[in-house]
């Protein structure tokens, strides 16, 4: 355990640098970062940068236009240098956003941590208080406060911090609730670490990224509210904060309109860059952030580049081996799939893989997670994520390339190729009954009356072992079990009588007993209907049980392909041997338990 935590902390420093490096690579984030750093710098060194104090008055400079001698941005109505005041004002602004951020983080994060970690009564009360704060008309409260304390920026900002603390509370609480149940927290408990240390080491670690991201938005809000309060005449007129400058320039809006421009500009730009910074941070820090869809033009260029690379490469010059083509139903040739990176490049995840499925054959596609096997499966159906890019190769159904003919691919989906997904519950639309979504899917593939579709589906449901099929048709997904949901999904896949089924880890999410039943159903259906099947799995047991042929995938390449018996008896590749060995030891462990 301790070694794990140590790794974490050493990682931490590296991660921080990596984050910075990534941020700087993103041009918008870099500009935002420079701007923000600039504001901090100016605030810190205001006395050196300004030519005079914030209230240095020269009546001769009153309402001077910008770019006048000695007054770069001109003078305000009181004869003060606008640029100097902006420089001094950055101090108020920095102070304001510091107070808002510190107060809201302190209040929101602590309560969120406690509520999420201990739950119980504290959480109930905290949730209620959050509701209260979120329903309060914040501006009115700030004004009432003003009547009490007068213009007092720190107090106003602290109160505003409390008013927006619920954002942090909600964020942190939900993360803590989920982290709390994670293995490593349990392990830490077992080892006997105190709650404080667990929170310090694990939980805080988990919430840091969202807090940092949220804080850049909080700062933006802080600047906005300072300007707003000043606009309402509730600011401190003796200060030179940007909000006050804006408000004071409004009083001479007709006399010196350009003076409004400067504070408006710095306020808007600072807020803008803080928001952009927050967005960029969330892209970089949250690994879950999906990679961006590439603009069409860029996409085309990337594909062209990748294809140029292939033709140049000697390895791929030799034609891929073709099996006797007459009974081949589906054939994947030299498939290459990539995803755009945030730096504009492309990461290739499938590097030119070949796969042939004969009629009636159950073909296992095995490999570790991340080996690219699901990408292969999705490619055949044309349901790769939007941002994925097919860099080359073909998917031939009856000899026609589906990748170059999107119409044919659309027509093949559902009618020729069926799909059985991995996670049964998340693959059913929670808002529709089982019946409605099955009927819709079937009718989309094979035009027929609703009644006919319904009857057919009820029959199929019974075939896969659902007894009161009529009732199940009227249920919502959350009302059925995972095993039943998987049967429903299998029905959805075969209802339109496809020739081939792509099953992506169809049993992984299920209990062991139900796994066996589902495998049995798949085998039965395949035999009855002469269905071919691509079975994507990491479970060699399943492969041995069900498949005729096996392809082993590693790092985006098919490394070995053989009949199932041959593979298990004499694996050629070292990788396959390892895979077999490790799966056996897992099985042994399961037996021992």
């Amino acid at each position: 355990m301790t070694s794990a935590t140590d790794n974490r902390t050493t990682d931490g420093r590296a991660v921080r640098f990596a984050v910075l490096r990534k941020l700087v690579k993103n041009p918008i984030a870099a500009v935002a970062l420079v701007w923000f750093a600039g504001v901090l710098f100016i605030a810190a060194f205001a006395p050196l940068l300004a030519t005079g104090g914030p209230n240095l008055t020269d009546l001769g400079a009153a309402n001077l236009p910008p770019f006048s001698d000695g007054h770069f941005l001109g003078g305000d109505a009181a004869g003060r240098d606008i640029l100097d005041r902006l420089i001094w004002g950055s101090r108020s602004t920095v102070m304001a956003i510091l107070i808002v951020t510190v107060v809201s983080v302190a209040a929101g994060v602590t309560t969120g941590l406690i509520a999420g970690f201990y739950r119980g009564r504290f959480e109930t009360i905290a949730n209620f208080l959050v509701d209260v704060v979120m329903s309060l008309p914040g501006i009115v409260l700030l004004i009432a406060l003003y009547a009490l304390t007068g213009p007092n920026l720190p107090v106003a900002m602290a109160v505003f911090g409390l008013l927006i603390a619920p954002t942090y509370y909600r964020l942190v609480r939900s993360i803590v609730v989920s982290v709390r149940n994670e293995l490593y927290v349990d392990a830490a408990r077992v080892v006997g670490l105190s709650d404080l240390r667990i929170v310090g080491r694990h939980v805080l670690w988990a919430v840091r990224a969202p807090i940092i991201i949220q804080s850049s938005f909080t700062m933006a809000a802080g600047i906005g509210i300072e300007a707003g309060m000043s606009f309402l005449g509730l600011g401190d007129p003796t200060s030179s904060s940007w909000g006050i400058m804006l408000q004071q320039s409004f009083t001479s809006i007709y006399n010196n309109p350009v003076a409004i421009l400067w504070p408006s500009l710095v306020i808007s730009l600072t807020v803008l860059f803080l928001i952009l910074l927050g967005n960029a941070l969330s892209d970089v820090l949250q690994s879950s952030a999906r990679s961006k869809v590439m603009p069409r033009r860029k996409r085309r260029a990337a594909v062209a580049e990748a294809q140029a690379a292939i033709t140049g490469s000697p390895v791929d010059a030799e034609p891929a081996e073709l099996s006797s083509s007459d009974d081949v139903l589906l054939s994947i040739r030299a498939l290459r799939v990539g995803y755009p990176r945030s730096d504009g490049g492309i990461t290739e995840v499938v590097h030119g893989a070949d796969l042939d499925i004969r009629r009636g054959e159950i073909h296992g596609l095995v490999g570790e997670s991340g080996s690219g096997k699901s990408q292969m499966a999705f490619s055949t159906l044309g349901i790769l994520p939007k941002e994925a890019i097919i860099l080359g190769g073909s998917v031939l159904l009856d000899g026609h390339d589906l990748l170059t003919d999107s119409k044919r691919q659309r027509e093949a989906r559902g009618t020729r190729i069926g799909y059985v997904p991995q996670e049964p519950m998340s693959n059913l639309d929670p808002s529709f009954t089982i019946g409605r979504q099955l009927v819709k899917g079937l009718r989309a593939a094979r035009p027929m009356s609703k009644a006919a579709a319904h009857a057919k589906l009820v029959g199929l449901l019974e075939r896969v072992g659902i007894r009161d099929a009529e009732r199940v048709m009227s249920l919502y997904p959350h009302e059925i079990s995972g095993g039943m949901a998987q049967r429903v999904l299998i029905c959805g896949a075969i209802a339109s009588d496809p020739d081939i089924i792509v099953a992506d880890e169809p049993t992984t999410a299920l209990d062991v007993t139900i796994q066996a039943e589902v495998l049995e159903i798949l085998r039965g259906l395949s035999e009855e209907r002469g269905l071919a099947m691509i079975l994507v799995t990491h479970n060699l047991g399943v492969v041995a049980d069900l498949c005729d042929t096996v392809s082993v995938m590693k790092d985006g390449l098919i490394v070995e392909k053989a009949d199932v018996d041959a593979l298990f008896e004499s694996p050629r590749e070292a990788y396959t041997q390892n895979l077999l060995a490790s799966s056996r030891s897992v099985e042994l462990m399961e037996i021992e338990q």
Partner: protein, 313 residues
């Protein structure tokens, strides 16, 4: 579901109690200040003391709050300390003004946000970049600056809309439309900027979900998937966005009413809060909180009706 509703209702009442009490407590403790300010300059200490008693400001906080609460329940919100106007009378004039700016703004925000959000999520490309750009820009510029820019452009330069003021719908529907257009637009920019972005995220989350992929794999066409399945499932987060938008519109109205000299609730609250006009502040706080709670309640109700899981219970 009924139980849920009851729970929600109770919770809302609790929130109302706590918020109004918080408002009361915030203004408590300045009795002589308020009294002498009500009386005006030159009032003797005796008359100030008499006024403190007359306004009931000498009693303990809880007693004052209880009194206010029990009268408020019967619909009597008291009179302004300063002008003597009935608070309920003032509210009945001011609330409609604010609502007639906010509600169209909310409706338009919802509509435009959904359109932009859907277009950005589904089409991607140029429109997506526009939405992202607009979201960031629209949130960055304070709404009162937008409002003043709008006045300069559409009221002073091209005299299309009135620069200030409000005309009641009952007096002249067309003038009403003209009088609320610019204030509404000023609010709309920020609200749509936030709304479109959030709705886009909700759409993308739903579009990326497993069941959408499965529906596609079954051969369903894009259009029915988006309009029947994705929109339906993005509706719940969308409604949350709408209720949050309402909250920010109410806050924004305070500034907008200032620029356009609209006789709305925001200005009433600002003016009253500046001088600790307790009954008036409490009236506006209460109405605002009630509006927020009602919106949240309705949004919650809709979300529950949309969500089969909650509907069953």
């Amino acid at each position: 579901m009924l139980l849920n509703l009851m729970k929600n209702l109770l919770r809302s009442l609790g929130v109302l109690l706590v918020t109004t009490f918080a408002g009361f407590a915030l203004m408590f403790g300045n009795a002589t200040g308020i009294a002498s300010s009500v009386l005006g300059i030159g009032a003797t200490p005796e008359s100030v003391q008499a006024k403190v008693v007359e306004l009931g400001l000498d009693r303990p906080l809880l007693v004052q709050y209880w009194d206010w609460l029990t009268s408020a329940v019967t619909g009597d919100l008291g009179r302004s300390f300063y002008t003597g106007q009935q608070v309920s009378e003032a509210l009945s004039q001011r609330v409609p003004v604010t609502l007639s700016v906010i509600i169209p703004a909310l409706a338009l925000t919802a509509l435009i946000s959904v359109l932009l959000g859907v277009a950005a999520a589904v089409r991607g490309g140029g429109i997506d970049r526009f939405v992202q750009f607009f979201s960031v820009g629209g949130t960055a510029i304070p709404n009162f600056i937008i409002a003043i820019a709008l006045v300069f452009a559409f009221a002073i330069h091209w005299r299309i809309f009135p620069a200030t003021g409000y005309v009641a719908f009952g007096d002249d529907p067309w003038q009403w439309v003209l009088s609320i257009t610019l204030p509404m637009l000023a609010l709309l920019v920020g609200a749509v900027a936030g709304g479109a972005q959030q709705f886009r995220t909700a759409m993308l989350d739903t579009l990326g979900s497993d069941y959408v992929r499965t529906l596609r794999a079954r051969g369903m066409k894009e259009q029915p998937i988006i309009f029947q399945h994705v929109l339906r499932n993005a509706a719940a987060p969308g409604l949350t966005v709408v209720s949050l938008t309402m909250l920010s519109l109410l806050g924004g109205a305070v500034f907008i009413e200032q620029v356009f000299a609209l006789p709305g609730m925001g200005r009433l609250a600002t003016d009253a809060a500046k001088i600790s006009d307790v009954p008036m502040v409490m009236g506006t706080v209460m109405v605002t909180v009630v509006i927020v709670l009602v919106i949240n309640f309705v949004a919650d109700l809709l979300i529950q009706t949309l969500n089969p899981k909650a509907r069953m219970r």
